[in-house]
């Protein structure tokens, strides 16, 4: 099994995070695992390599033959034993650690990232964004939502990776939102190209492109310009969206744990919601969207009637 280098990077990052006792973002981890079947295997591989590597380091502190050594190395290397002697002489090259910075927000938080070229990325709540200082004009949205205000450069377009999809700016303000199974890209200025190498779909101002995470199939629709990135002003507008997406978006923006009831009907939801008043009265969402709101501890369960 040869693991993809990017997947191995991501798996290592998740292995670090999930190993921390206070780690809480298991839903985010689930999303990552669901993004590709290879992710789980890569994660297991990293977790075991690290566990055994640490055990070996502990048992064998750079001195002579000891009891634990052979047992531990056999756990590691027995499947590969035939090649062991040859490998001792093999040249070991490791790639320099990439200096990527990971930015994260908690639900209800927003955060502004200023890039060296004058571009600005505004992160919504519950969002993870990776910026690599060695690669300007590039960002990767791992999770959540962000508004990109990109200083355009024809010769050096800005690129945003979302899962396996790539967005390239053509002079731009655009909003990217990762949902459970879909990603939405709304443009308010300039234009964005979705997957230039494949679909090569151009998103103009006042349009929102929605693509399926798994199949990459997309759909273009109109969106009022002022609704692109409106979450920055503390407002969210829905037009015929599934309740699960509505709950996730509002939870992300408000930090209030809204969830869609599993038994809720399929009726699409429309409405425009100001976030701030919800903080004082989470149940007030019900009449605004025409749904029932039931409190369970710290969680607010939404169900359409």
């Amino acid at each position: 099994m040869t693991l993809d280098r990017n997947i191995l990077d991501e798996a290592a990052a998740w292995a670090v995070r999930t190993s921390e006792p206070g780690f809480e973002d298991w839903p985010g981890f689930t999303d990552w695992l669901e993004r590709a079947p290879e992710h789980a295997a890569a994660y297991d591989h990293v977790m075991l390599a690290v566990e055994d590597g640490a055990a070996m380091l502990e048992a064998d502190p750079a001195n002579d033959i000891d009891e634990a050594g052979p047992v531990l190395w056999r756990r590691w290397f027995a499947p590969a034993f035939a090649a062991c002697l040859a490998l001792v002489a093999a040249v070991w090259v490791w790639q320099a650690n990439d200096a990527a910075s990971v930015y994260r927000t908690v639900p209800g938080e927003t955060r502004q990232i200023a890039l060296g070229d004058g571009s600005v990325i505004v992160m919504a709540g519950d969002t993870e964004l990776i910026v690599d200082p060695d690669r300007d004009r590039y960002a990767r949205l791992e999770r959540g939502r962000a508004l990109f205000e990109i200083r355009h450069d024809d010769l050096n377009p800005f690129r945003v990776d979302v899962g396996r999809a790539t967005l390239v700016d053509a002079g731009t303000v655009f909003d990217v939102s990762i949902r459970r199974s879909e990603v939405g890209v709304g443009v308010s200025e300039g234009a964005v190209i979705y997957n230039p190498a494949k679909q090569n779909a151009r998103i103009e101002p006042g349009q929102i492109l929605t693509f399926d995470k798994a199949s990459a199939a997309y759909d273009l629709a109109d969106i009022p310009l002022d609704q692109v990135g409106e979450w920055r002003e503390g407002r969210l507008t829905f037009l015929g969206s599934p309740l699960s997406d509505v709950a996730a978006d509002i939870a992300q923006a408000s930090g209030i744990d809204y969830r869609a009831s599993e038994t809720s009907g399929e009726r699409p939801i429309s409405g425009s919601i100001a976030i701030e008043p919800l903080r004082a009265d989470p149940a007030s969402l019900g009449p605004l969207l025409g749904v029932t709101v039931e409190r369970r501890g710290e969680t607010w369960i939404l169900a359409s009637r």
């Binding site: 290592a12 590597g53 064998d60």
Partner: protein
Amino acid sequence: MTDNPDDGLQAVFLANRQSLLRFLVARGAGDDAEDILQDVWLRIARKPPGPVGAPMPYLYRAANMVMIDRYRSARQSATREQEWTEATSGPVPGISDSPSVERLIAGQQLARKVEHALAEFPERAVRVFRRSRIDGIAQRAIAEEFGISISTVEGDLRSIYRVLAELRERLDEE
């Protein structure tokens, strides 16, 4: 909450069964997800943890550990099979070469290789790794101890994790 401290955890478990199942499926449990989830709960019920501050992360973590255990035992049984094959079809048929001097020396040298790989890292990164994985200190506490940011700690760990994973992958492939 009632008198029984487990009731709280159990209520959370029941209310979030679907999320946990989804996690297990994503984690590669496939058709076994339901059985594994039950196994997770039985383990907790057998050895109640006492009051748990954050029940959902606790349950997710327990499920994750079960999956790692499964992966480890699947690997080990594959290893045993291969060792048996090697022992019975080695250079001299029927004679196991397991305690041979070459084999022992190879293992020692490979252990060196792990150390060698880690020696390529800045000393701080290796110390962070040891504190985290050998001493079991939380990343936040390590950050304080070293006077560095938590993302620096994460970065150090990530790069070492990555190298150990690659080393192991290389050896698996040979």
